[in-house]
Subunit: 164 residues, 8 copies
């Protein structure tokens, strides 16, 4: 049974949102993924948000671009934490996505991460952190992940110095 | 029976959205107004959008600020034309509202007008224009309104030349 | 006889504006198309706007980029609803086009859609929606189109789950 | 023992960050608050982040403005979820704060909320939501809060219709 | 007979555009002023632009705000140089005005100056410079004006040093 | 003897600034061109600006990108009209160039045109317009050029209709 | 004999630039101040920059707003380090000042600080840091200053906790 | 023993930061380089900043992109001058990097240079200028470098005129 629901408005968002799923997998957090479009399947979006808690989800990750309404609208229908991933838009590089997701009115929060792939990866880690506050195994997986980030810097240092 | 539905997310938007209602009144177009919040009353928003056509509305005007999802989400639930009014946001002067409303994905249009009071007035006129394409009386009211705009310029000219 | 006039400032806008024409065709709405440049053929623009209503147009769609004056200037000369499509500009990605079209002063509205191809498609749908408020056949075509959007999400879902 | 740590870079941020504390109190979530400046007390920031989990915190809320480094740097030192509140900056209205907080590189997430007071309130609610995924009482408090949002819309509707 | 035509879209622009007239007066350049609204009096705008050269104008200064079409549209109808003054807009501080005026397509130039009062003053000076390239008296007036700018710095220096 | 001086900060600007020279040639206006860098050859810039009028120049066109100081600094040293062409910058697409050139303080105007090639072409036309206010032959060349713009639209129309 | 030259384009910049002078005084670094306008007194600017090193200056701080050319042009004429302070502009809040100062081309650096008073204060500290790299007394003054920043946070903490 | 420390958050920044190292080498200024990530190796960052002065560094150059915290956080831990290089970010072209680095609060300065390669080169020159204020040999190297910039313009002039 999945702890995290990863949803996106279109199959074209998958190359971005895949990053969230990959890192969730690495951290041992179960997830499900689905296409849920705020503008094309609004009813499905409502059903998804309404049923999320009862089916055991702890966090929802929603990716969308342009006038990105999916994360905020899901948040309007659930009290689970919703993480919004601003997908890069074609013309405005995702600044429209970022503002559409981040600038929510008081009362209905969305946890916004950075634009694009880095944001999707961070959405996965953030979801794990939320779970890790209550689950020791996930917390330990996150500690190892953080150690891995440090180790990668060590590798980079060797690479840099070899360039002398 | 109203031809235009004017909705807004909060009573605080009324000082802006009142402009739409006033000009609709001047142009002889019937309207109703309501508070419909995308984020606080999403179910009401769905019901409003679903029932709009059958109760006789021809156009919906929706005003919202910040991460402004009301116009786009109403548009996802109806095939009536939806006009979105970007209300000035507290921090970013409405550029977030404008992008959240205008940058809709292909398939679900919102007719976006300018930020703030000028936009709300224009939303009212635009709704009347849509009706006026099929209704002679409204078209004539619009012609008179346009003549009025020209007349105001004449008044301004006198005022300017008196300043010599 | 055309119900919608689709105009653009340059032949180079056609790859964008073609989206409006295609979707109008799919929705069974008649249209005509023409090159009308605000800056190079201002007189033709005036004539086009003045004659639009009498020749039977119900809506005008105007696409332009950069300092995009075509939609607003056409709107100054007609009381038909005018839809403005911000075409992506070479340097600023269409943010200049969007602001030049959307930020109209009170009294002369332009119905602005999103930047680029998505916006052009939405302009076509929006024009059909305006007509569909008064014409049952167009309303039914729009219902089918909306159903088609939902169906495409179903296809995307299958595609997503095959990627497991 | 506090579940949420609310930190900010300066006493001048308190008028904003107070919103987070107030809503946490309303939702029955325990919190502590402190001034922790990334740039003036970097060592304290490290200690705060390092000790956060062991002293029982589940979430950290960090508010900062301008080149806002507090949320991201705390996130670099803990695997607890960190919520960043972009405080309005003097010259640029908080767009610098928003980008400094949201645009974190892959690996170190910050849950960014909207600029200013609405964002601080949402940070409090979001923290409660994270806890509510694992704690039934908090989940019920959130349900009541959401119902309260709907009720306020009812009040607004009465107010709007009295203006007829 | 006026050498410079100063036009603006609304009497509310006069507090800005007055700066252009004042400096033209100081530089001994004759001017006329008028309200010409691109959107409310498009026909008058065309007539003004068409008759400008034959009535002896050498330069046209046009001020407008928001979706500012006046300078560019006047430029489309005359081969006189047109100077555009971006008037500060209510919501977006004139960045919309600046882009709407400056980003003209190849073929139809507008000489854009800075936003607001500084820009209006500069429009007057720039018009005088255009005339001064062919008229010795105006060139000498500009030399004196430039000397005056230097003298004002001398005054400021005294003021600064008195603050020690 | 040249009437227009076309200067630019680097040989890399030539692909842009060539547009100004080409159109000046087409309009029969004599010009000279030179590399003058505000930041690398400030003394040469001063000499160029000081000698411009006496050697017969009527207008100076200056192209620069990024923190683009060349047009404004030349304007500080001459009372000839200076046209500034914002060259697209590597990272920010020329919005930095545009603001650095357009936002001059009151007293020292620069006639700013659009970003990039369209702007460079327009700089050439604008220079010709300044001359054409006093020179009949240039005015007639501009009339023909404007007619050519209209004719090109005719060609585009044929091309569009052939696409049916 | 002054080690730091603090220059600004106008007396109106003094309320900002005074911050630089105050902190230099606190840090025991000698300074001189002057009005030097890039656009109104370009010759004085050149002289100031040329003579700076020989009269003993180690650093130049230059404040300017809008199309802010003073820091970059001074930098073009000296090999002393130049610190640029972006003064808030009237319309665009200093984003134009920031870009005009920061986006210098390769070869001619300006050390840009934040917009407005915070930036001016930081310019003073940064100048002291440059001197402190070679002068022990200044380095110690900076250490004390940094300690003072930490102490102020202690005071803020007391103030915050008194608000409980 | 190195006078300048060049640090960057990732090996991917090296193509940019290499420019700083190259020019430092050309100017005869000794430097060391290292990967120091604010978000992945915060402890190393603290150690680097704390030990910088005692190991003889006079200046630190730090490059980072997106929510770029490295320069500001290093500055919080040392009183050496810190130069921040905004590396171009994937989505927002470095405007986020620029604001995250430049907009530091009063008390903790960062000397910000332009975005990308030009900025990295300028960081190297600026570091040399800081040293050159106290070291004659470096000052002379900078004079030669500046002469080289002028000579390159001469070369460009020849190239331009050969294009006639």
């Amino acid at each position: 049974m999945a702890e995290v629901g990863v949803i996106m408005g279109s199959i074209s968002d998958w190359t971005i949102m895949e990053e969230a799923c990959t890192v969730l997998g690495e951290l041992g957090v179960s997830y499900e993924k689905e296409i849920i479009s705020a503008h094309r399947t609004p009813e499905d979006m409502f059903v998804y948000a309404e049923e999320a808690r009862e089916k055991g989800l702890k966090v929802i990750i929603a990716g969308a671009g342009g006038a990105a309404h999916l994360p905020g609208m899901v948040a309007s229908k659930t009290t689970l934490p919703v993480i919004g991933v601003p997908v890069e838009s074609k013309s405005l590089n995702g600044i429209d996505s970022l503002l559409s997701i981040a600038q929510m009115p008081g009362g209905v929060p969305v946890a916004t991460v950075s634009i694009g792939k880095a944001g999707a990866k961070n959405a996965g880690i953030l979801a794990a952190e939320m779970i890790g506050s209550f689950d020791g195994a996930t917390a330990r997986a996150l500690d190892l992940y953080k150690q891995g980030l440090r180790d990668k810097v060590e590798d980079m240092r060797r690479e840099l110095h070899e360039r002398d």
